[in-house]
Symmetry: C2
Subunit: 363 residues, 2 copies
């Protein structure tokens, strides 16, 4: 019997036990074939069924309209930071970026290497990101090729609560750290991308949802492998996909579907974040959130203690009590609990109770 660990890692993150157990049980013999799923040809009927099921589950869970294609690509969201402008930043065009943290800065910096960009809004002063800019603070270029933003910021602990109004410009969102945390209106986006390794699977797969009519406008003077159109036309089988990663994503999405889909997961996720923010807010200032209340993330809850020494002690004692991954990102310090889809309410209750106890002992 293995120990019962609560995994608060920022990503790669915890996965539903059931999704992992399925992988374990099928490892040596996938559906009676005598082979592991990762030993099957990506063009054979056994893998193909998994591939189509992963697409179908994404479509039904997120309510993806027929105007959009669902793709699986490789290279992580960091690769999309480059391939989005390669495809859609036209030679004589410009792209708008809202900068709310480390990841949107990286996305902007890759785009800058490829063409003209503008910063349409910022989530804080200098390199300190503590809030999401309001709609009336945005300065949007009506002629932009697209508007790019990051829906949730893992390091800053901020998250968009509403979809920004792009005023008719194609909207592109990096949803790596909050994809499928709740239902959203996919039709508002021209492109959504998300590395799987936080909410929906292991690392090595990026989910892309792209508006077909916009995809057609993609540049043709770039390598074939980097055109979204290539992968759409081949149903993400242009070249060998990361078959085991997509299989694991299928397993995770099946579990989400069984547990009430995105409505069910949102209820659970809101309960978890409410528990944690209450523990912070009701600590009489012992635990402090550096984030503007309206911008608080439901995925990555960050907070400080009265001193760095206490923060280190907190993380160390939590680890000893089988709560792992609580150290804040090295860029900002403090404590961070990443409470993605697979973290249970019971796991957060354990942390909240530890917080109360720690404060009593060290207050």
């Amino acid at each position: 019997m293995s120990k019962d660990v609560v995994n608060f890692n920022a990503g790669p993150a915890g996965l539903p036990r059931k999704a992992l157990e399925r992988a374990r049980d099928e490892m040596m013999d996938f559906e009676g074939t005598g082979m592991s799923v990762m030993e099957h040809s990506h063009r054979g009927k056994h893998y193909e069924k998994v591939h189509r099921e992963a697409i179908a589950l994404t479509k039904s869970l997120m309510g993806v309209p027929d105007t959009h294609d669902i793709l699986f690509v490789q290279g992580g969201a960091s690769q999309l930071f480059a391939t989005v402008p390669m495809n859609f930043l036209q030679k004589d065009g410009s792209a708008d970026y809202i900068v709310t943290g480390t990841w949107s800065k990286k996305a902007l910096s890759e785009a800058k290497l490829l063409g003209k960009t503008k910063v349409a809004g910022k989530g804080g002063e200098g390199d300190t990101f503590t809030r999401i800019p309001r709609q009336d603070e945005l300065s949007l270029d009506p002629a932009a090729n697209y508007l790019h933003y990051t829906t949730n910021n893992t390091i800053a602990g901020t998250q968009y609560q509403e979809i920004p109004d792009a005023k008719g410009v194609p909207l592109v969102a990096d949803m790596s750290s909050d994809i499928m945390w709740k239902p959203i209106d996919v039709s508002k986006f021209s492109l959504i991308y998300a590395g799987a390794q936080k909410n929906i699977g292991p690392s090595g797969v990026v989910l892309v949802i792209i508006e077909k009519s916009w995809m057609e406008k993609g540049r043709q003077d770039i390598p074939v492998i980097f055109r979204f159109k290539t992968h759409a036309e081949a149903e993400s089988l242009y070249n060998t996909p990361p078959t085991f990663g997509i299989y694991m994503m299928r397993n995770v999405l099946s579990v989400i579907a069984e547990q009430g889909g995105l409505v069910g997961i949102e209820t659970k996720n809101r309960k978890k974040s409410a528990l944690l923010y209450a523990a912070i807010d009701e600590s009489g200032g012992y635990y402090r959130s550096p984030v503007e209340t309206a911008s608080r993330s439901h995925m990555n809850v960050v907070w400080r203690l009265p001193s760095e020494e206490l923060e280190n002690k907190f993380v160390k004692e939590a680890e000893a009590a089988d709560m792992t991954g609580l150290k804040g990102h090295r860029a900002v310090g403090g404590v961070r609990a990443s409470i993605y889809n697979a973290v249970t309410v019971a796991g957060v209750e354990k942390l909240v109770s530890f917080m109360a106890d720690f404060k009593k002992r060290n207050g």
Copy 2:
């Protein structure tokens, strides 16, 4: 008990049972951590150990000199078809390509989108590839930025038996389908790349071995994520790597190391290909190899039967006898047995005996 299948898939292909069993046994609890390896942070000590071990095993198995870096990247070899010229085809330069089949054609066609290229040699007439060009047939540009070739051609069933002499030009090899099938002199290459999914792991990971001094000459006007230097400097942790894929590669390389390393695997591989080619050559013309004898692949053995009907019957009956993946590529037809590292001698003996029996019944 699952059935005993011989997996002749062209890729993704069979993996050593032991490597898969290890993954199964550790799935729910990796080294006593209570978590799966794919739930660990890529920056945590538990995954880091696996990552370093995969690099160390590659270094020792292949004898990679200190002049070269070992990287793991994503996107499949198809992505490297683009990133190699993005990095190394200079604005005023030209690159040489030897074209010996479908994959080298694809590599050339991505390079053409990015700059000037020359065909330095061909492996057949038109689109029929039945041989490897001899050294004296190559027309090498002494000023080329690099010479690119494909060491083994999965569809044509041809393979280089010697490393071509690039006459001082940096040599780049796509070794996706025969990496680590035998020892090679890595120092002769400026860049080796290989999708893992044939000889050394699952799909979703590309192994890159690159000469450091040459890497420094890579272009700086391309996105950061596509520069080999980026991944070398970050020890392949610039962004989240496909952790489970690298873990599986580690498991596979461990098995190869235990079984006598690349010398051991070469002995086994030569025995397998000798058995199969003997079965073809000694069939009195019933089984025919379309490949020039000196160019025959030790990884993908292709052959024809007297008619397409018999070929279909052969593949179908073999499948019923638990030998899977024998259908030739749709582009060329016929029969193909991919006998990568993980296929056992016993598996090939079973096929050879089936071939004799099939001929007797249908001769």
